[in-house]
């Protein structure tokens, strides 16, 4: 027999308190999972850092030969080789991500200002879906277009024979180049920048702009001196977040950057733009079959942990930079 008080005293199986606790537990578990990911990846990469010390980030020897030696030493199972100097890959990452971020920053700022303030309504209605479209095209399609359209174009029409001959004893120029990677990456990260910039510019209180215009400053100057300055947090955040995105781009760059562990030198003149290289992220995807070899596996995880830590720091910085903007909502 049931106790008549049963239904009144015992809380419902899905009571409020339990609901809060179980939701909180799911959240905490997800949190723990992400932290575990950070720890796992760094721990797996540690042997590579431990064997090379700070020279891991330095230059020396050919990266491609080092990767090959590591792979072979893992296959034979004897004495593992860990020597790895990633500077060529890091330098390529800096050039491509930096170049794309710089190009994208300038164009995104102008486009965001245009979309928010100066474009006529019909232009705004075109630009919104255009930005969304560019943001949602998968990276592999960008890569395919790069490899089948942009790379042959650069190889056949932009680089002339004299240029090719001048560096033929070091590296062959075929169109797989720094500039191809930078240009496509610019188009890929610009939508992210534009949308964050535009959100920030829109949240600038209208009366600040009106006050400036009331003093006789024209709309253009007003918007750049007041609007863009007030939206600085969003501009910093957008740039940083887009850089984090660019840093992790592996597939497109694996397709167009040329996949040679080579560090283009800007002091050689503009020809460095046409030279192939390979950033950090594509290195992982192209050596993924080498995971069976322990030293190469640890090295790939070391590369991944460098990417992970820098991307996490960049995202966190972007998130922190965005916080001051919330004040404007109250203003």
């Amino acid at each position: 027999m049931h106790d008549p008080l049963l239904f009144e005293q015992r809380p419902h199986w899905w009571s409020d308190r339990r609901a809060e606790l179980s939701l909180g537990a799911v959240v905490a578990a997800t949190l723990a999972g992400v932290v575990a990911m950070l720890v796992f990846v760094v721990v797996q990469g540690w042997p590579s850092f431990a064997h090379n010390g700070l020279a891991w980030f330095g230059s020396g020897g050919s990266v491609d030969q080092q990767i090959k030696a590591m792979f072979l030493s893992g296959e034979t199972g004897g004495h593992y080789v860990y020597t790895f100097h990633a500077w060529a890959l890091i330098w390529s990452t800096i050039l491509i991500v930096g170049g794309a971020a710089a190009l994208s920053f300038v164009s995104s700022l102008f486009v965001a200002v245009f979309v928010v303030e100066f474009a006529p309504d019909w232009m705004k209605q075109i630009l919104h879906p255009v930005v969304r479209l560019l943001a949602s095209v998968p990276s592999v399609i960008y890569g395919l277009l790069g490899v089948l359209v942009l790379v042959p174009f650069i190889g056949n029409h932009v680089i002339n024979q004299a240029d090719k001959a001048s560096v033929s004893h070091i590296i062959s120029l075929s169109g797989y180049s720094l500039i191809a990677g930078v240009l496509i990456l610019t188009v890929m990260i610009a939508p992210l920048m534009i949308s964050i910039f535009a959100d920030g510019l829109r949240s600038v209180p209208r009366h600040w702009l009106e006050a400036s215009q009331a003093l006789g400053i024209n709309r253009w100057r007003t918007f750049w001196k007041v609007g863009v300055r007030a939206a600085r947090p969003a501009i910093v955040a957008g740039t940083v977040l887009a850089m984090a995105r660019a840093l992790g781009e592996a597939v497109m760059l694996a397709m167009v950057s040329g996949s040679v562990g080579f560090a283009p030198n800007p002091f050689d003149g503009l020809i460095f733009l046409y030279e192939p290289s390979r950033p950090l992220a594509p290195t992982i995807i192209q050596n993924i079959e080498g995971l069976s070899s322990p030293p190469l596996k640890h090295t790939l995880f070391a590369i991944a942990s460098v990417l992970l830590v820098s991307a996490m720091l960049l995202s966190l910085a972007g998130w922190a930079a965005k916080q001051p903007l919330k004040r404007y909502a109250a203003a």
């Binding site: 997800t30 992400v34 486009v111 479209l133 253009w220 966190l316």
Partner: protein
């Protein structure tokens, strides 16, 4: 200022032509505006070029037979078959990823907006989700390979003896859900935050518990936001390549592990449209650019359709407003 503007009653909204024309600006300012126009038109041109070029290539190379035949190894276009398996693979991976990301994302968003205590855990969660959005997918792929090739999770992929392969639809779907998670959390949170406090208070006042309020009132109201977030997440899952290439194995055809009908496929390896394009690009192993173009066209159509859905939902969402 003309006299007409001064005598206009103050209550009238500013007229359309009330802002000053750019012809009164200095030359530098007008140059700046010209750059704005140039870049705006340039972006439109790039987008149009991508869509039109892909459409031309798609119409040229896409045959209905490609959609229903499986890829086979071969050296010429007539031998290599179509991309039925990648098409199915994309659907499977998208469903798996969403099946994990949707409940998890909604749970996190609900907890963050409706409970959010202790405060430190809420802040930590917020920043972790933010960080997760920035984690490169190739790192997620490596991490996935690490955990799914551990013996404990061996039942989720092919294994021989003590060696766990670690590559399967399960593994890829689980890692892809992490790609979609931040988008779903962000969109759901926005939707929940847009619901005014008096709606919650009204529900609590008639004796509903907080959880009943969430389940019966808040979530149904925020449904368009949840769907928008899922669509955005779905777009990211479908478009992702690195995780697929690493975690789904390098086989072009679906390669089930074991005899169980559905479970075997999920435990086995396969391909999706993105990995098919990657393998068929000139830098890939199969190298059949015309097939890659056809598959890329299909992929682009799917992504555009998802975009359209988000647009339609967004328009409907704007129609619902709270009277204050």
């Amino acid at each position: 200022m003309s006299g007409e503007a001064l005598t206009r009653p103050a209550v009238l909204p500013p007229r359309k032509g009330a802002t000053e024309a750019s012809s009164t600006w200095s030359r530098m300012d007008r140059l700046g505006l010209a750059i704005c126009w140039l870049l705006g038109v340039l972006f439109c041109a790039i987008a149009a070029a991508i869509v039109i070029f892909m459409m031309v290539q798609g119409i040229k190379y896409l045959r209905p037979s490609l959609l229903v035949t499986s890829p086979t190894a071969g050296f010429s276009e007539s031998q290599t078959g179509g991309f039925l398996d990648p098409l199915i693979g994309t659907v499977v991976v998208a469903l798996l990823g969403l099946a994990i990301a949707l409940p998890l994302g909604v749970t996190i968003a609900v907890w963050l907006t409706e409970y959010g205590r202790p405060f430190s855990l809420a802040r930590a969660t917020e920043s972790t989700i933010e960080m997760l959005a920035g984690v490169p997918d190739i790192v997620l792929a490596l991490f996935g390979l690490l955990i799914f090739s551990s013996p404990i999770l061996g039942f989720l992929s092919r294994s021989s003896g003590h060696v766990v392969f670690g590559r399967s639809f399960f593994a890829a779907g689980a890692m892809l859900s992490l790609v979609a998670l931040p988008l779903i959390v962000g969109s759901t949170r926005e939707g929940l935050q847009a619901i005014p406090a008096h709606i919650r208070e009204a529900s609590l006042a008639v004796g509903k518990t907080r959880f009943a309020t969430i389940r019966r009132i808040l979530l149904p109201t925020a449904r368009p936001s949840v769907i928008t977030g899922s669509m955005l997440g779905l777009g990211r899952i479908i478009g992702d390549t690195a995780i697929i290439v690493v975690l789904l194995g390098a086989t072009l055809t679906t390669n089930p592990a074991g005899g169980t009908p559905v479970l075997g496929v999920l435990k086995g390896t396969g391909s999706t449209l993105t990995s098919f394009i990657y393998a068929n690009s000139p830098t890939g192993e199969a190298n059949q650019p015309t097939k890659a173009y056809a598959a890329a066209f299909v992929l682009l159509l799917v992504v555009l359709a998802l975009n359209l859905c988000v647009d339609l939902i967004g328009r409907r969402r704007k129609a619902v407003t709270w009277s204050s």
